[in-house]
């Protein structure tokens, strides 16, 4: 099972859009290639936007959402996770563990638990035979929940805008990933950096992209197709549909599918292949 965590401590960069597009794109691409295509989307953000988009609801109570797993007795976390999984409204193969506003309270209560970070990682073992892919959306901060999401992941993707402040913050995220790797001794890796909301008409954005492309650390990690800024994304959100359902020929849909394709390749291709 591969679990992909989308993270960036800055808000509004497109983490949720990327998470839900990745989750649905994986289902479509894997099914098209006759591969096991069941995908689990886990929403660790208390804003629960990924949950709203994929299930049409954001009023899931604490007992129906991820918080219940995180506060369950460790030996029951797996069975609790299985019980909470709900179908998405997008695709029969896309399932969701809903997030809810109660996650803020859960985040505070996790302070009392020294083993909090491995809670989700352990719970995910109970569904490892049912899902080959898990996508985890995170909140815009380095909270305990975000740490827990990173620990549960095998791969981390950072969506980032090619603007000055955002690119400055990128270094902090990379350091956080390193800290998680060292502290919890887990083999999670930074699989890629995805330029999002990219507006090629803006000179500064073009220059920043060029700068990062030529950087020795970031360059090889950049995904080759930036996600362009595209009004179809807003319309898709408005219709509670994925970008592929709303307008599969839009520039954003095409770029997101190219990203999904490249991610699958990076994740599955053995190192050095």
């Amino acid at each position: 099972m591969r679990s992909i965590c989308l993270t960036n401590n800055k808000g509004g960069v497109g983490k949720t859009t990327t998470a839900v597009s990745l989750a649905h794109g994986l289902v479509l691409l894997l099914r098209h290639n006759h591969l096991p295509s069941r995908v689990l989307l886990i929403d660790t953000d208390s804003q629960a936007h990924a949950t709203l988009l994929t299930t049409g609801r954001r009023d899931w109570g604490r007992s129906e959402s991820l918080g219940e797993v995180l506060l369950a007795r460790p030996d029951r976390a797996g069975s609790t996770l299985q019980r909470l999984i709900v179908p998405s409204t997008w695709d029969e193969d896309l399932h969701v563990v809903p997030g809810s506003p109660s996650l803020d309270g859960v985040n505070a209560r996790l302070a009392e638990d020294h083993g909090f970070a491995v809670r989700l990682r352990h719970a995910l073992r109970s569904v490892a035979d049912r899902y080959d892919w898990v996508v985890i959306d995170t909140m815009p901060s380095f909270s305990r929940l975000t740490t827990m999401a990173m620990v549960a992941a095998t791969d981390i993707v950072i969506p980032v805008e090619m603007r000055f402040l955002e690119t400055i913050g990128l270094q902090a995220i990379v350091e956080k990933i390193k800290e998680v790797q060292d502290t919890w001794e887990i083999p999670v890796r930074l699989t890629g950096i995805l330029p999002v909301k990219y507006d090629q008409r803006v000179t500064l954005e073009r220059e920043n992209l060029e700068l990062y492309s030529s950087h020795t650390f970031y360059g090889p990690r950049l995904f080759s197709t930036p996600i362009p800024i595209n009004v179809a994304v807003s319309y898709a959100h408005d219709a509670c549909e994925s970008i592929f359902m709303y307008d599969d020929q839009s520039s954003a849909a095409r770029a997101y599918m190219a990203f999904v394709r490249e991610l699958v390749e990076r994740v599955l291709k053995p190192a050095g292949a």
Partner: protein, 404 residues
């Protein structure tokens, strides 16, 4: 509300190329994602969106809604065949003899199990299931059915092989031992395209089944999939009338429908406009598109149903149907050939009246306990009660007349 503009994702996904090159850790359909296992029949459910129907429609709806179990559904079907056979003046099929017949035994006598005359559609379809059951009984299950795991393994939904599933239930019902499991290939994800390939390769689909198949594939191209948790209403398929074939998908779609031509595709799609009652009749009697296309030109639903009944009962050719519809006198003609409810009742009455005296004489000589045993065994309690009530009325009438 914004309007969806997606053209289906197939073209986009084709552009992405195959993942074959990285399949070392991502197995294809013949690898890790697939397993072959024996699964208990009770854990398997037919696909409610399967375009090709096996059970008669009313029984199918009740079965999918959970009002009947598989055994009850087959018993109901058997009763339906018995009614149909009586209506057509045919003997009731000897199911046990059919099940005993080894399909490999080319010298087997056939006259006992194949009475003369043309069986009705219900009998024909049930006979084909029983023939499959006989093949499985004598030769084993040659090819496994394909299923998809649902609700985290709580049950499996059939992708292909529903007839083999019902054949196993039939064997289980008649022979009880050794047929409560069926060999399945558990595929990681259901594909309506694979199902379509199976449907069109096995035998010719009825025009209505082909229309449903077309709708299912076209909707799949737009990412629209049925809610498998309940029976699929015909209106779900009718959504396909609002969608055009996405650019670049026409050839693949027509190939999946058995290689039909572009013009034929449009005519089949148009059949989706017919009402439910016409779908049911036309599907059961396997009417061809060339006869149904003229039914579309009739405005009134009641007339459409009457016309289809007329096509069935009189076996009208496509040309004759065209002439009827274009004559402008269809309502008058159909009134003349009107719903034969009374006429049919009269025919049944005549048939029973002519046979009853002989049968009544034989009743006086028969072992009544044996007759009662067979009667109760071969029919449902409710049906037997209805027949007893009718017989009581008959006896009262006869007694009154005898006394007079």
């Amino acid at each position: 509300m914004t309007k969806r503009r997606s053209q289906g994702t197939r073209a986009l996904l084709e552009e992405m190329g195959s993942l074959e090159g990285i399949a070392e850790t991502a197995p294809d359909i013949s690898g890790r994602g697939v397993r072959v296992v024996n699964i208990v029949l009770d854990r398997i459910r037919p696909d409610p969106a399967q375009p090709r129907r096996v059970l008669p429609e009313p029984i199918r709806s009740e079965f999918l809604a959970g009002h009947l179990n598989a055994r009850q559904a087959l018993e109901r079907w058997e009763a339906l065949v018995a009614e149909e056979a009586a209506r057509l003046g045919r003997p009731r099929p000897d199911w046990r003899a059919l099940l005993e017949r080894n399909p490999d035994d080319r010298n087997a006598e056939t006259f006992e199990t194949d009475p003369p005359g043309t069986p009705g559609p219900e009998e024909e379809l049930l006979r084909s299931i029983v023939a499959t059951a006989a093949t499985i009984r004598h030769g084993g299950q040659v090819s496994p059915i394909t299923v998809v795991e649902m609700d985290n393994g709580s049950y499996f939904r059939i992708e292909t092989g529903e007839r083999r599933y019902w054949a196993h239930h039939w064997l289980n019902m008649w022979l009880s031992n050794g047929f409560d499991q069926i060999q399945c290939i558990v595929v990681p994800a259901a594909s309506p395209w694979r199902q379509a390939a199976e449907n069109t390769s096995r035998e010719e689909l009825s025009a209505i089944a082909l229309a449903r198949q077309l709708a299912r594939l076209l909707l799949d191209l737009y990412g629209i999939r049925p809610d498998y948790s309940r029976p699929i209403p015909n209106d779900w398929y009718r959504q396909a009338l609002e969608y055009r074939v996405p650019r670049g998908e026409g050839d693949a779609l027509r190939a999946a429908l058995g290689g039909i031509q572009r013009a034929q595709f449009s005519r089949i799609q148009a059949l989706l406009r017919l009402p439910d009652s016409v779908w049911e009749l036309a599907d059961r009697y396997r009417l061809e598109e060339k006869r149904l296309r003229y039914v579309l030109k009739v405005d009134d639903e009641a007339l459409q149903v009457q016309l289809v009944r007329l096509i069935v009962t009189r076996n009208l050719s496509a040309e004759r149907v065209r002439q009827l519809v274009e004559s402008g006198q269809l309502p008058a003609i159909l009134r003349g050939a009107a719903p034969p409810a009374d006429e049919e009742r009269a025919t049944v009455s005549e048939r029973v009246a002519s046979r009853w005296p002989t049968l009544a004489r034989q009743v006086t000589q028969a072992d009544l306990s044996l007759v009662a045993d067979q009667w109760v065994k071969r029919q449902k309690p409710d049906e037997v009660r209805q027949q007893i009530a009718a017989l009581r009325r008959l006896l009262e009438i006869v007694e009154q007349r005898v006394q007079k």
